[in-house]
Amino acid sequence: MTALLENEGPRPHGGGSELSDPATDRDALLAFDRLSLAIHGTTILHDVSLALFAGRVTGLVGESGSGKSMTALAAIGLLPDGAATSGAIRMDGRDLVALRERDWLGIRGNDVAMIFQEPMTALNPVHTIGAQVAETLRLRGASRAEAMRIARDRLDRVGLSRIPLDRYPHELSGGQRQRVCIALAIARRPRLLIADEPTTALDVTTQAEILALLRGLVDDEGMALLLITHDLGVVAGIADRVAVMNNGRIVEADTTEALFRHHRDPYTRDLLAASRVPARARRKVPPDPVLAARDVVRTYGAHRAVDGVSFTLHRGESLGLVGESGCGKSTLTRALLGLEPVQGGAIELMGRPGGTAMTRGERAKVSVVFQDPYGSFDPRWTVRRIVAEPFHLTGRPRDADARLAATLERVGLGAGDLDKYPHEFSGGQRQRIAIARALVTEPEVLVLDEAVSALDVRVRAQVLALLDDLQTRLGLAYLFIGHDLSVVRAIADRVIVMQAGRFVEEGPVADVFTAPESDYTRTLIAAAPAIPDAWVKETS
């Protein structure tokens, strides 16, 4: 896809300054003109100026809390209560900021439409997908039959021609649901589509398909697309123009290639550096097995979720496990942690039976860090209680307090944080607390289940550096489960690729990524969004 964009001819708006200069944005379909926004007195956006053009994809990149979603919600008139705006959003000679709710009803879905991050919850579970797509057409007075006919046509356009209209959302996969969301957003052929992190919750191959679909819609139907993402790799592959947002300001905006090659703002540089994590240097780990699986089988009825897999994890080694949702990696993880029994094969921990056969003391040797730094703590517990909880496996040691303080310092927090509550910490800090909780029993093996997937790129780089440092100092073995190949590449010595319950490829990480043997691995690598090397070398 990148190659395709590079081959495009000169674009109507080549220069970077035009993006933020309303005087030259006469051709813009929609233009933010020095838009500022405060919610209950807290300033969220400062002087945001950005123009969106028909037939063009504009990427808006930033970290969580940078204000990119609020920018999008302002453009569709769905700002939360208590929002106060100044400046303007111009479309068709009107200022959308000044519109009343009644006037917005004629614009939403008709001129401006939006899709969101979480396809699993974005559709109403009690209505069929046909009814939900048709509803937007019925609003415009289409007859039921006509609305259903157009709904069918739109669902066909987004690649769901084999899905009947009477299906309910829960009968579809995440990728299919996101297609339904796109179908209902484009049902009335809006001129601007806003996509807020549309692929963040999806697998890499599904992400590539959805991005290709969006690009195709922009090219075929001449829509403008505002693509909001935290992933620079995504915009590199699809956007014509990119704006970078930080703390409610657009710090830099340009055509995509120019932005990557010649960015000037230090924040853009940091973001770019953090999103290109260097691959781990090849190193030799002496064989010393700590965790091993032999022909492990886990079945649910007739379904073999894990179908005879074997691996060995050595002391001080980090092993990546890569695969798409439903491939069995989480099931395997639960079996390794002893949370679920296996129906075949054996798990060994340091030469003794592992899995459900582990004693409490042995369980303390395998710790886990989960993905969600918000959901994996009880909000009413102090950090002290959270981090001390694994002591129930070992018995509370006499020097517990000293060990808690030392563990927190080890992950970059302080003993002063022990009596705080989870909500007082940022996402990255919470993930450090989760790592501290995993370390407090001095384990041999750390299972990192998508442990950095929910973090912003700069925070992710810090947590990855912390994990690398901990491994060197403590000689930990990591089982790193992930879907983001560039991250796995940065932390793992060896990698296993899993598909439909089986391992399809295994080997040193550099070999697997440069010379993959299986077709599936090649598909995964090709689908992963990447910034072309040529765009980055000039600046680095």
Binding site: I76, L78, E101, L105, G106, I107, R108, G109, N110, A113, M114, F116, E118, T121, A122, L123, N124, P125, V126, H127, E135, T136, L139, Y168, H170, E171, C181, L184, A185
Partner: protein, 313 residues
């Protein structure tokens, strides 16, 4: 879908069987002689013996149980000792009051609770929300027999719009409905307060959902979003409460029936207990258990209509 229905039906029958055994054991198999108990301390031994024969207390427990269940299944609920009429006849009369009263009260409950819940949820934190929350707090706090007496004082004694109590029978439907109106209002007040609050909180939960944002982004107005997308998703907790309320209204209206002198099921079972009429108590209790289980069954079916995720393809 059909398999699920079959499973539910089996569990319904099983629940009824268990309930019947429990009721039978509690009333018949506990130590002591039911006939002696019914007749009181000063009864003559031959009277007690005659009553034992009349009650069918001779014979083994399993045989008596099967006899009773067989009778219930064929519509023979036994004969009331105090009224000297078949229990089935008594029950039929009383249901003619209790069922319409329960439906009437339930109708009023819905009529008040749904708009109030919708209003409060869509004006969250506003004056209307405060108003609804305050009013429902009051509705929960006021004892309904006291509210009933207040209604009688105002509408029957002072204004004379309806009679203060009693039930004229269904030969004059207007008068019958008139007689049920004040009791229905008194019953509906706390029920509507509960339901409005349940609906409000269920709606607030669904209004935070992502699909509500999707609906608004499609161009639906706030009102259409609430009515088309939030209401049905908020239905499950509301249906649960509604089922409990209907079961309660059917038999739990004893106090209100007493305030208004209404010959309902609640009063029948109350009188049965005070008059030690075990035949009435046993059969009516079983009927009420059946009603509660049947309502629960209906509510579960309604769940699957409201939420397609509960249906199995």
């Amino acid at each position: 879908m059909w398999r699920a229905l079959l499973h539910r039906t089996i569990s319904l029958v099983a629940a009824l069987a268990v309930a019947s055994v429990v009721i039978f054991v509690m009333l018949q198999a506990v130590p002591g002689d039911p006939a002696a108990f019914m007749l009181g301390l000063n009864a003559q031994p031959d009277t007690v013996a005659a009553l034992r024969a009349e009650l069918g207390l001779e014979g083994s427990l399993p045989a008596r149980y099967l006899d009773w269940i067989g009778g219930m299944l064929t519509g023979d609920f036994g004969t009331s000792y105090t009224y000297r009429v078949p229990v089935a006849e008594l029950v039929a009369d009383r249901i003619g009051v209790s069922a319409p009263l329960a439906l009437y009260a339930l109708g009023l409950t819905l009529l008040v609770a749904i708009p109030a819940g919708l209003l409060a949820a869509s004006r969250r934190g506003g004056v209307a929300d405060w108003g609804v929350m305050g009013a429902t707090q009051l509705g929960l706090a006021v004892p309904n027999f006291w509210f009933a007496m207040l209604l009688v004082l105002v509408f029957a004694v002072s204004l004379g719009w309806v009679s203060a109590g009693g039930f004229p029978g269904w030969s004059d439907p207007v008068a019958a409905i008139g007689a049920l109106t004040l009791p229905a209002i008194a019953l509906a007040l706390p029920q509507a307060s509960i339901l409005a609050r349940v609906l409000r909180s269920a709606l607030l939960d669904t209004l935070d959902a992502d699909y509500i944002r999707t609906a608004r982004a499609k161009g639906l107005s706030r009102r259409a979003t609430v009515l088309r997308h939030a209401l049905r998703n908020a239905a499950i907790p509301v249906l649960t409460i509604l089922g409990l309320q209907f079961s309660f209204l059917l038999a739990g209206a004893i106090i209100i029936e007493n305030v208004f002198f209404l010959p309902g099921l609640g009063r029948l079972i109350f009188q049965g207990i005070t008059q030690r009429d075990l035949v009435v108590v046993q059969s009516v209790t079983m009927l009420l258990v059946f009603a509660v289980i049947a309502v629960t069954f209906a509510v579960e079916l309604a769940y699957t209509l409201a939420d397609p995720r509960l249906r199995r393809r």
